[in-house]
């Protein structure tokens, strides 16, 4: 089968972000960027499908500025075959992203599209679901296990009450959760090899999709700060505090 994986370049998840004082957004200048962790699990899942003999071609697509080439190269070093960067300087909304990806799906006709379940910058958790709608394919979000069966996939999903297993026919859209696998670190020879793999760059405008934002981000603010606390010396003191809290709660 042919697998398409969408990856996003985001502020590295270990960086403690700073909100710009003017409220215009989060500071990204001079901040370490990397592949969105959930996307990394999606890439790893695709590479494993390849190793199991299920996937014969893995195509990586990213949407963003030229620098997003980095994360495509990371995915190629992990074992994907070729890449596509849809280049834009604009910060696109998830609907526009999904529309661009739908065009790529139309061109590439993958049997399976893998995506991260959410991006750790906007935390939207939209794109897989939107792409499934636009391409009229079934979706399985928050995947923690993917099994290939005779007639499609069996995907274990993380839901509010535990885990659920769904059977999906192909073609389908699956979004990855963290427990899906442990992404590999590409060894140096793979990183070198990645540079010689095909990587196409095409401007977003070429796809004939309406990219205009629908929402207005009025401002971005830091969360409310918590007052500093105090240290208690004994279990007795702590128990007394809890007892007082609990009695107040009952009074409510």
């Amino acid at each position: 089968m042919k697998v398409l994986v969408a990856v996003k370049r985001v502020v590295d998840h270990n960086v403690r972000i700073r909100v710009r004082p003017d409220g215009s957004g989060v500071e990204t200048n001079g901040v370490r960027m990397s592949m969105n962790p959930f996307c990394k699990h999606a890439v790893e899942a695709a590479v494993q499908l390849g190793e199991q003999g299920h996937a014969d071609e893995i195509v990586i697509v990213s949407i963003g500025p030229k620098s997003a080439n980095d994360v495509i190269l990371t995915a190629l070093a992990m074992g994907a075959h070729r890449g596509l960067l849809i280049e834009t300087e604009a910060e696109l909304e998830t609907l526009a992203i999904a529309k661009l990806l739908a065009k790529v799906v139309e061109e590439e006709q993958p049997d399976l599209v893998l995506l991260g379940k959410q991006a750790v910058d906007d935390d939207s958790n939209h794109v897989g679901q939107m792409l499934a709608a636009l391409t009229d394919r079934p979706q399985a979000t928050f995947a923690s296990e993917i099994k290939v069966t005779a007639d499609g996939l069996e995907v274990t999903r993380e839901v509010d009450w535990g885990r659920e297993v769904v059977a999906l026919p192909l073609p389908a859209i699956v979004t990855a959760d963290l427990r899906l696998n442990t992404p590999r670190n590409a060894a140096l020879p793979m990183v070198m090899k990645a540079r010689s793999k095909p990587l196409a760059v095409r401007p977003a405008a070429e796809f004939g999709v309406d990219l205009a934002p629908r929402l207005i981000i009025e401002k971005v603010s830091p969360p409310a700060e918590r007052a500093t606390g105090r240290t208690v010396d004994s279990v007795e003191d702590l128990a007394a505090i809890i007892a007082a809290d609990v009695s107040q709660m009952e009074a409510l």
Binding site: D123, D160, V166
Partner: protein
């Protein structure tokens, strides 16, 4: 300005979060509550009692049992015509369904809403809660998911009419198994007290200690991702960016470092008590009250002391 809200329910019972969602969206207009599923007569009856609900619409049938998103969205698409707002909780179902519906209708959804400022302005956290966006939407319709924990519950005392909705749900997908976490503790997402454990609890048996403290306080049990990954706690106990968002009055965090992905899930907590060996752990620093000490020693002592004080909920 009318609102269609997807009710949150499980095991034939209405979830406590639904009354919170009703309260949140009733400031936008009269609320029709949609209950989908199988064997949900009792859910519909409970739903009709929530103040602020104009009507309860009920879609029964096997097709809705698994809440498969393509089936649910095709029904929502037909119903949405009549509403200006369509909303759901920011639950696994809401997250699954609302973006799919949005793309079908060519709309940008506004998800994980924690505050409704006015009919077209909303607040939502980004970057694992380290920043908050104020979003304005001038779209013809608003599709929302809301974090129930950010809102108070609407009172009971209503008797809204219950009406069936016609539809035949079909999905390309099929639910073939479910693995439910058995637990008799309160619902994590809406509990008034939560006791959370980290990877330092050391084992599934160790988590029984956390559960004991939770039972003493009629609290829900939470866990860090590290504890879940280690197999000490089931994944639906995970609190944080990729787990559940909680906002109890009291959170007792036992042996939890306070990584920013965990903090993302506890921003709405009113009071935090941390029990940790490390005074420098981020959670020790930000907690309202800290007890420095080994959890294996302090938790049994704490349970005994709460017993002695006769604390009971």
């Amino acid at each position: 300005m009318s609102v269609l809200l997807l009710a949150d329910h499980d095991l034939g019972l209405l979830s406590p979060s639904t009354a919170r969602l009703v309260n949140a969206v009733s400031q936008l207009g009269p609320v029709d509550l949609l209950v989908l599923g199988e064997g949900i007569d009792q859910v519909a009856t409970e739903a009709s009692k929530i103040s602020g609900v104009s009507r309860v619409l009920v879609g029964q049938g096997a097709g809705y049992g698994g809440m498969l998103p393509d089936a649910v969205v095709s029904l929502l698409e037909t119903l949405t015509v009549r509403y200006q707002y369509v909303a759901a909780g920011a639950t696994a179902v809401g997250r699954d369904v609302m973006p799919r519906l949005a793309a079908k209708l060519d709309l940008m959804p506004i998800t994980d809403v924690v505050a409704i400022l006015d009919p077209s302005r909303f607040e939502r956290p980004i970057y694992a809660g380290n920043a908050v966006q104020t979003v304005t939407s001038n779209q013809a319709k608003h599709l929302l998911t809301l974090r129930a924990s950010a809102f108070r519950a609407a009172p009971l005392g209503n008797d809204a009419p219950i009406e069936p909705v016609e539809s035949a749900a079909t999905s390309a997908a099929r639910v073939i198994a479910g693995h439910r976490t058995e637990s008799d503790t309160p619902d994590l997402a809406t509990a008034q007290i939560v006791v959370g454990g980290g990877v330092s609890v050391g084992s599934a048996e160790g988590f029984q200690l956390i559960q004991q403290l939770a039972q003493r306080l009629n609290a829900a049990v939470g866990a860090t991702r590290a504890a879940v990954d280690a197999g000490y706690a089931p994944n639906d106990w995970q609190v944080g960016q990729t787990g559940k968002i909680i906002a109890p009055d009291l959170y007792i965090a036992v042996g939890i470092s306070g990584a920013l992905q965990h903090l993302a899930g506890i921003q709405g907590v009113k009071k935090i008590i941390a029990i940790n060996t490390d005074a420098e752990a981020p959670l020790s620093k930000m907690a309202d009250v800290v007890l420095l000490g080994d959890l294996f020693k302090t938790i049994p002592e704490l349970i005994a002391e709460l017993d002695r004080l006769g604390v009971k909920r």
